[in-house]
């Protein structure tokens, strides 16, 4: 039975720069990473870690001068997680595109979910959905509605490791 929870305050840090500079970044421990475009990469960390992430990444990109930019975008996107068997069924009711298949490692992808732009991490039995904070209520309502037919319930996010990544960091394709 799938479950839905929101990870409030999950750290989201966006890095902009030349492709080569972003390619050379070392992924901070305990983060999910998604390459949005050649010149933008996003790191997602546990709640409360945004400042440390910004500092780490700014340090790594310091040599780029004004050719790189690190922005804390934590408040700009909501982070919802669909977890458990059947989470793909909930997703299928709110998105018309095919999820990539994860072999265990998180797969980052982008596409429309609940009729709004989304950025997703896909893992077996887990789909993390980031959408604009301005449509937070709409997305929550839409996902809950989609889950009605498959007995999905919304729960509180786990107190420990809510983004489900541990503290080791994972390299994402």
């Amino acid at each position: 039975m799938p479950e839905l929870f929101e990870v409030k305050g999950a750290a989201k840090v966006r890095c902009f720069g030349q492709k080569s500079a972003l390619d050379g970044l070392t992924q901070p421990a305990g983060t999910l990473v998604g390459r949005i475009t050649d010149d933008e990469v996003i790191f997602v960390g546990q709640p409360g870690t945004a400042a440390a992430l910004v500092e780490d990444l700014q340090g790594q990109l310091a040599g780029e001068g004004n050719a790189a930019l690190v922005i804390d975008h934590t408040d700009g996107w909501s982070f919802f997680s669909l977890v458990g068997e059947g989470c793909e069924e909930v997703f299928a009711r709110e998105a018309n595109w095919k999820l990539p298949i994860s072999d265990g490692a998180p797969v980052f992808t982008v596409g429309r979910v609940c009729h709004v732009a989304g950025k997703l991490f896909v893992r077996p039995n887990r789909i993390d959905i980031m959408t604009g904070a301005e449509v937070h209520l709409h997305v929550r309502e839409a996902l809950n509605h989609a889950g009605l037919k498959v007995n999905m319930h919304e729960i509180e996010a786990p107190a420990v490791d809510p983004i489900g990544i541990g503290t080791e960091g994972v390299t994402v394709s």
Partner: protein
């Protein structure tokens, strides 16, 4: 187990459809026809004809033959008064001569009041069921599926194709309208084959069989739209196999719509699949070998087959009491079939008494889905490709189709061509809309020769069957009637989804037309009793209940407004100055850190598309705001230009990650100073400057600007701090009786200052010259978007100019959109208007023909005089906002 049928219980058996259960119970007339209220009985039992439409549990127009009977269902028949069995409205059937084809186009046109009256009567007595008009929304879910191969139809060919495709390593989805594969197939070799293949498919993990799911449309993608019991499926396969089968051709002869006349497969389904004896004495019209099996099925059910009428070459030896080579030319009976007239190939006619006629006519493809699949990766198989094939041929053909789909072979198909069918000279062409051969011929005589016009004029093909029964017959009549125009009339009419009637809520499944965007303060506003309105894609605050009080607070004390909906962009990178110089028509390079500038945004034609501010930050970055509705559009717009120019710039949309509030009014500084230790005085922090300050413990970008014409500070800060910041400002402002204010008050405040709102006061032709904003454009810059057009436009006097206007005290405020006249001639329109509390008279903005747009000139708005002003009405020198 039983269902409730018009007040009585009707027993149901496992595997029953509503149609079979009711027929077993003795129901013979299932409906009354659309127009003439002729009695109609079961005919096709495949969901193709309109004869068994009933109301089930309040849902109208349910096909009884396709609906599984479930205990407790409440079923009623429709379109009759007082009852279907004794329908007084059947009198209309006697009025044919008074209602020629297209009569509603020809009659009651004069006097004019006649048609609305007639229309009401016609709508009541003609039609199908009456739907529930209650307001309760019924929401249908939409589910997306992504199989590799989609097979439409779980018959022999479809299941064989599915198994072959799965064996080829593909994930296969099979959909079928029936509630179980083969549910309507009579016992026999075909049923056995379906059961065998269905069992094999069920045990194959690569195949998902979704029964009770009807494909109703095929679209580009490809995407197949399908109706399931409780949702609408959007299926996105890589390849489609259509195995939708075939159906017998609708035959036309006098009285061809009497209850007791069945399509051959329909009669066989009733007898063989549901175990219901259709009647006592049957005549079987066997135009092809399959119909002989139908005769045997009827005989096995205990029906006396009086005669088998065969086409040349069809062997009916040993089946039925008599075998006659010929055809049926007429049916006899009034309310039900009592006999048929047979014409032998020798030319003799003979009447044979019977209560059932099973028409085993030529098999035609179910062509609706294949025609929608034109030029898409799709393959046809079974009867959909080769109607009338043998069972083994069908299975082999299905296997080949599945293997081809799995191999990703080029599958693109041409839809089967429409072809004219043999057609009698009398009888009903269209049993959905009650259109006879005579009426079609009459329409052709009136000049409606092309198929499309015939369709619209006669409504043939426009009923529930969507042309399944009648499209080819329409073509046959047209070609017979106008042979010289054959090429023109023979084109099939345009086919569009849905191919089956659907419910309105099914059409809207999954749709959300209004997605509300909220700032992080939205809930706080609602708690304060705010009313909202749409502002672009956002829900913004219109008022907190007392607009004038909100206004007075800003003008005389202090107010605060949530402006978090503004588009907010951080722009940085090595080429950012060059980029902004090209994006904006004003100068950017000389904008020092800490300063800001108002900026228009223009499209290539010089038309204003947005406006906002540009703040130069330390370190070479810039912070830009745009209007509430502009963020997403302008983000794409800027990225497009960046890519087009190849400039190294980062465009970061921070609209949602930053909250913004504007504290405005004579005591704005006093209020903020209570929450901040940073100096806010006029000398340290003057007008049109910005600084990073800490307010209520939160680092904010504070911007001094003045849309409302008062001392104001706009604070931009992380959205997570929004609620605490809002509460702190309201708390600190109690000393001055602070009020939060909404858009209604803001619009008056800005109007008194003469500020425009993009898209309210501007349109798709508005350039800066027309709104007297020359000061916002620097034509001596080398390049910016819209410059060339503005240079050209500068040589011409604009036809209209936006001007401020005012009326005398005591006059009513004209509505926005009101026309402006001068000397009785149309001279413009009002774009904004409000009653000014501080001035005591109406003020506004209006487009006025340029030659009249002179300060002090008089215009007329809604019959009342108004004077054109030359400057802002309130604080024209800007002393207050610079305080």
């Amino acid at each position: 187990m039983s269902i409730e049928f018009e007040g009585r219980d009707v027993a149901i058996q496992p595997g029953d459809s509503l149609a079979s259960a009711l027929y077993r119970d003795g129901v013979r007339v299932f409906s009354r026809s659309f127009k003439y209220h002729r009695p109609r009985g079961l005919y096709c039992l495949s969901g193709d004809c309109p004869n068994c439409l009933v109301t089930v549990d309040g849902e109208v127009n349910v096909r009884a033959c396709q609906c599984a009977a479930k205990a407790g269902q409440v079923v009623t028949r429709q379109n009759a008064w007082p009852s279907v069995d004794r329908d007084a409205l059947n009198v209309i059937d006697k009025m044919h001569p008074l209602m020629p084809v297209g009569f509603y186009y020809k009659t009651m046109a004069k006097p004019k009041f006649a048609w609305p009256l007639a229309e009401g009567v016609i709508r009541r007595v003609a039609g199908l069921g009456f739907s529930d008009k209650s307001d309760a929304p019924i929401e249908i879910d939409r589910v997306n599926r992504h199989p590799d191969v989609l097979v439409i139809g779980a018959g022999v060919a479809g299941l064989a194709a599915a198994i072959a495709a799965a064996e080829g390593g593909k994930r296969v989805m099979v959909i079928d309208e029936q509630w179980t594969p083969g549910a309507r197939v009579a016992a026999g070799p075909t049923k056995e084959a379906i059961d065998r293949l269905a069992a094999s498919a069920a045990s194959n993990p690569g195949i998902e069989v979704s029964s009770g799911t009807a494909a109703i449309g095929i679209y580009e993608g490809p995407m197949v739209l399908a109706l399931a019991e409780d949702h609408v499926a959007h299926i996105h396969p890589q390849a489609i196999v259509i195995a939708a089968g075939g159906m017998e051709v609708h035959r036309i002869f006098p009285n061809n719509d009497l209850p007791g006349i069945f399509m051959g497969r329909g009669a066989a389904r009733l007898a063989g699949a549901h175990g219901v004896k259709p009647g006592e004495r049957a005549v079987v019209w066997a135009e092809q070998p399959e119909a002989i099996e139908h005769a045997r099925t009827l005989a096995a059910a205990g029906v006396v087959v009086e005669a088998v009428i065969t086409a040349p070459g069809v062997d009916a030896s040993g089946v039925g009491n008599r075998q006659i080579e010929g055809s049926i030319v007429e049916a006899k009976g009034r309310k039900k079939l009592s006999g048929v007239v047979v014409k032998t190939t020798g030319g003799a006619t003979e009447e044979i008494a019977c209560d059932i006629l099973a028409i085993g006519s030529e098999i035609q493809q179910n062509m609706h889905l294949p025609r929608l699949a034109y030029d898409l990766p799709c393959i046809l198989t079974g009867d959909s490709a080769h109607p009338g094939s043998s069972l083994s041929e069908v299975e082999t053909n299905g296997q080949q189709a599945g293997a081809a789909a799995a191999a990703g072979l080029p599958l693109y198909v041409n839809p089967p061509a429409s072809k004219p069918r043999r057609c009698g000279t009398a009888g009903y062409v269209c049993i959905c809309e009650d259109v006879s051969v005579k009426e079609v011929e009459q329409a052709i005589d009136e000049g409606f020769e092309s198929a499309e016009l015939l369709k619209r004029y006669t409504t043939v093909t426009m009923g529930p069957c969507q042309g399944r029964l009648c499209a080819d017959q329409l073509r046959a009549i047209a070609e017979r009637k106008t042979p010289t125009e054959a090429a023109r009339v023979s084109a099939p009419t345009t086919l569009r989804p849905p191919v089956r009637p659907i419910q309105v809520q099914q059409a809207a499944a999954g749709a959300r037309h209004h997605i509300e965007r909220h700032t992080p303060l939205h809930q706080r506003h609602l708690e304060l009793g705010a009313s909202t309105l749409w502002a672009g894609p956002w829900k913004r605050i219109f008022s907190y209940g007392d607009m004038q009080a909100e206004y007075e607070a800003v003008r005389h004390r202090v107010g605060v407004i949530d402006v978090g909906t503004l588009g907010k962009f951080l722009l940085a990178g090595p080429d950012v100055v060059e980029f902004l110089e090209r994006i904006y028509p004003m100068r950017i390079a000389d904008l020092e850190p800490g300063r800001l500038r108002y900026g228009l945004m223009l499209e290539e034609g010089g038309v204003i598309i947005d406006d906002g501010t540009v703040c130069a930050l330390e370190g070479g970055a810039f912070y830009c705001t745009v209007t509430t509705s502009g963020a997403e559009r302008l983000e794409s717009w800027m990225l497009d230009w960046r890519d087009a120019w190849g400039l190294d710039v980062f465009v970061v949309n921070q609209t949602a990650s930053l909250a913004a509030v504007n504290v405005a009014g004579p005591h704005a500084r006093d209020l903020l100073q209570k929450l901040s230790d940073d100096p806010l005085d006029k000398e340290t922090f003057p007008y049109l400057r910005h600084r990073r300050i800490t307010v209520n413990g939160v680092s904010c970008l504070a911007i001094r600007l003045g849309f409302v014409g008062e001392l104001a500070y706009e604070l931009h800060f992380p959205a997570a701090a929004a609620v605490d910041m809002w509460d702190a400002i309201l708390e600190a402002g109690k000393e001055w009786d602070i009020r939060p204010f909404g858009l209604d008050a803001q619009r008056l405040l800005r109007l008194e200052k003469g500020h425009i709102i993009i898209s309210q006061d501007t349109d798709f032709e508005t350039n800066p010259w027309k709104v007297s904003m020359e000061w916002a454009v620097k034509l001596d810059k080398p390049e910016f978007v819209g410059k060339a057009a503005l240079v050209r436009a500068q040589r011409r006097t604009p036809r209209e100019t936006l001007v401020p206007w005012q009326m005398e005290p005591g006059m009513a405020t004209p509505p926005e959109g009101m026309t402006v006249t001068i000397g009785g001639n149309l001279a413009g329109r009002v774009t904004s208007s409000k009653m000014s509390y501080v001035l005591g008279h109406p003020v506004g903005l209006a487009w006025v023909i340029t030659e009249h747009a002179k300060e002090g000139g008089t215009i007329t708005i809604g019959g009342a005089p108004a004077t054109i002003a030359g400057h802002a009405f309130y604080d024209p020198e800007g002393v207050k906002l610079r305080a």
